[in-house]
């Protein structure tokens, strides 16, 4: 008898989603879907508001990555007041970068320690009571404490620069509204009140070493689990190095060939289109020249390390080279390598934060610049989860007439669906009894992408995620709901 499996909600991801897996009469997977069934709204809400409200308004997209939306919108709004990224004052640029690195650091720490670590520490099919930070706290206390402290360090950076850990404000059109004081800076350097930035670097190295050890013991699983070919998209600087705040867009195919060659972010519309599906509120961005079917790209830590030529900081670059050795120094298409790449990016962010904290420009300098106003602004950054686009158009009175957001997680929409399909075909297909451990592997595959479903759909209200199993008649025969 054919069946349909539902997993709802998908756990330890940001937001709510649902997976359905359709089996045929022989227990073979016929189809699978990762549905995001939340309402999409912010692009519409913001129309009619004055442009200067955008960087504050869009922070409400998410409680996890408000900084990323704040900065992407700020970059776009800078252009509306006539300031391109290169024209921003050094002080404003460096303060924004510091906040951005703090955001990526804390977001990656949250994901690795709170969300992903149970999968690695207890196994992909561990009992449900093991699959959470509470179990990690009980059995791996030191790791949990470090995770919490590292996440908090990033949050404290954000608080110092923007006033609050969540929904603080740093930017104004054309710059920033404040610097930090020497005392605020020293708080992160001297280790008297909180663990210092040097400790953050050391601890990140320790966690990377943990990941290397895990890889050594579980290489086959990491290589094979949810492996599939795809394009990879990320930002690079003029030297082709990893860039998170401002640069050019580059994409490579699954073999490492360049398919998008360092284009300016201003012209993204010439290269990208967005498709929709009738079973999800999340859009499907793709490269126009390759087409809807094969033109989608993975984004985020693994994709970024795939597309860049190197990392501009010493320790992280050394780790990138070691990591890439496992792919023949070419490109990695294995989903589970996201976790390792995320840790290397944490090290990069920690090194960048240390450099910035020792830069006197953070303490004083020109805050705001203004140029000739325009009617359009496009801000693209590399958010923790990948390439984030904010595009605004305004009328002559400065009121927003159009807003287009391509949120990082939407780029990974196809990839997450592929990952679900892989698990359905390789783990669930042909099994008479679907176990909880098997279903957790669906979540493991999705979770590796660290999706932020609330951002990706600009959701309203509460969210969660479900898995459903349907027979060939379309009858629901099994469902797991986790809320």
């Amino acid at each position: 008898m054919s069946r349909k499996i539902t997993i709802d909600p998908i756990t330890r991801v940001e937001g709510h989603g649902r997976v359905t897996i359709h089996l045929d009469d022989y227990g073979q997977v016929k189809d699978s879907f990762f549905h995001i069934v939340e309402f999409r709204g912010f692009e519409r809400f913001i129309q009619g508001h004055p442009y200067w409200e955008a960087p504050v308004f869009v922070q409400r997209l998410c409680g996890i990555c408000p900084v990323s939306h704040h900065l992407a919108a700020a970059k776009a709004i800078d252009q509306i007041v006539g300031i391109d990224p290169k024209d921003l004052s050094p002080t404003a640029t460096k303060l924004r970068r510091l906040m951005h690195y703090g955001q990526v650091f804390q977001s990656h720490a949250l994901h690795f320690f709170y969300l992903a670590s149970p999968d690695l520490l207890f196994g992909f099919d561990a009992p449900v009571d093991k699959r959470n930070i509470v179990a990690v706290a009980s059995e791996h206390r030191d790791l949990a404490i470090k995770g919490i402290t590292m996440r908090r360090f990033g949050q404290e950076i954000i608080k110092a620069v923007a006033g609050k850990r969540i929904h603080g404000i740093l930017t104004v059109p054309g710059g920033v509204h404040k610097t930090i004081t020497a005392a605020e800076r020293d708080y992160f350097l001297d280790g008297n009140n909180i663990e210092s930035i040097d400790t953050m670097i050391e601890w990140t190295k320790e966690v990377i070493n943990f990941m290397k050890g895990y890889h050594e013991k579980n290489r086959k699983q990491l290589d094979e689990f949810a492996f599939f070919p795809s394009g990879h998209l990320g930002m690079v600087n003029d030297l082709g190095e990893l860039e998170l705040y401002d640069g050019k867009l580059r994409a490579k195919d699954h073999e490492g060939n360049i398919i998008l060659n360092d284009i300016s972010t201003d012209v993204y519309q010439e290269y990208f289109a967005e498709a929709v599906a009738n079973w999800s509120y999340m859009k499907f961005p793709y490269l126009k020249n390759i087409g809807r079917e094969k033109g989608w790209n993975r984004v985020g830590p693994m994709a970024r390390l795939n597309v860049c030529d190197r990392i501009p900081t010493t320790l992280a670059e050394k780790e990138r080279q070691f990591y890439l050795d496992f792919s023949g120094n070419k490109i990695i298409n294995s989903t589970m390598y996201y976790h390792w790449a995320r840790l290397i990016e944490m090290l990069y962010c920690a090194e960048e934060m240390k450099l910035l904290l020792n830069d006197p420009d953070l303490l004083s300098g020109e805050l705001v610049r203004q140029g000739k106003t325009r009617n359009k602004g496009i801000g693209i950054i590399e958010a923790p989860r990948g390439t984030l686009t904010h595009h605004y158009e305004v009328d002559d009175k400065g009121m927003i007439t159009r807003c287009n957001l391509i949120v990082s997680t939407t780029h990974n929409n196809d990839a997450m669906n592929e990952a679900v399909k892989w698990v359905a075909q390789h783990v669930i297909s042909r099994h008479g009894n679907i176990t909880d451990g098997m279903l957790n592997q669906v979540e493991v595959a999705i979770r590796a992408y660290d999706p932020c479903l609330s951002c990706a759909t600009q959701a309203l209200g509460k969210m969660s995620l479900v898995a459903e199993l349907y027979n060939h008649k379309g009858e629901l025969i099994d469902a797991r709901t986790k809320n």
């Binding site: 756990t11 959470n132 930070i133 509470v134 706290a137 949990a144 919490i148 996440r151 986790k482």
Partner: protein, 150 residues
């Protein structure tokens, strides 16, 4: 002067969202306490509790979690002791006070005296104001809180 009953090193965490009408009750309660400028009391504000709050609560002897309640309550509010529990909510977005207390014990070996303060609301729309019922409940809980703990 009446001796303060509350132990030193007390933390009050207001939970909620002032942009959603009565969901702002937890924050408003905490603001009112903060305005009193009492010694040894720290006030924090959260949209939701998160895992790292375990580190914060571990630094205090007494912790109050103040939040709005969707349920009607006999007196319009309820203050009760809160014990640690090792359950986990499915997302990192929010955790219960009980989980936060569990993590404080498991990670930092600290077990503060803890209470939840639930204040009943009735309006949950998109406005920065409390309903009349919520204001009345807020006044009453503030009176009892001051009488009982100060």
């Amino acid at each position: 002067m009446q001796e303060q009953k509350i132990k030193p090193a007390t933390l009050i965490i207001g939970i909620g969202n002032t942009g959603r009408n009565d969901d702002g009750l937890g924050w408003t309660f905490t603001e009112k306490i903060e305005e009193m400028q009492l010694p040894n009391i720290t006030c924090e504000y959260r949209y939701q509790l998160q895992i790292e709050d375990a580190q914060l609560v571990s630094q205090y002897e007494t912790v109050f979690f103040a939040d709005a309640s969707h349920q009607a309550l006999p007196k319009g509010f309820e203050i009760k002791e809160c014990s640690l529990v090792d359950h986990y909510y499915f997302t990192s977005h929010s955790q219960s006070p009980e989980t936060i207390l569990y993590l404080a014990k498991a990670l930092y070996q600290k077990e503060p005296m803890a209470y939840t303060i639930a204040i009943a609301g009735q309006d949950w729309d998109f406005e920065n104001k409390l309903s009349e019922t919520a204001k009345e409940n807020l006044d009453n809980v503030l009176k009892e809180f001051k009488n009982k703990y100060f």
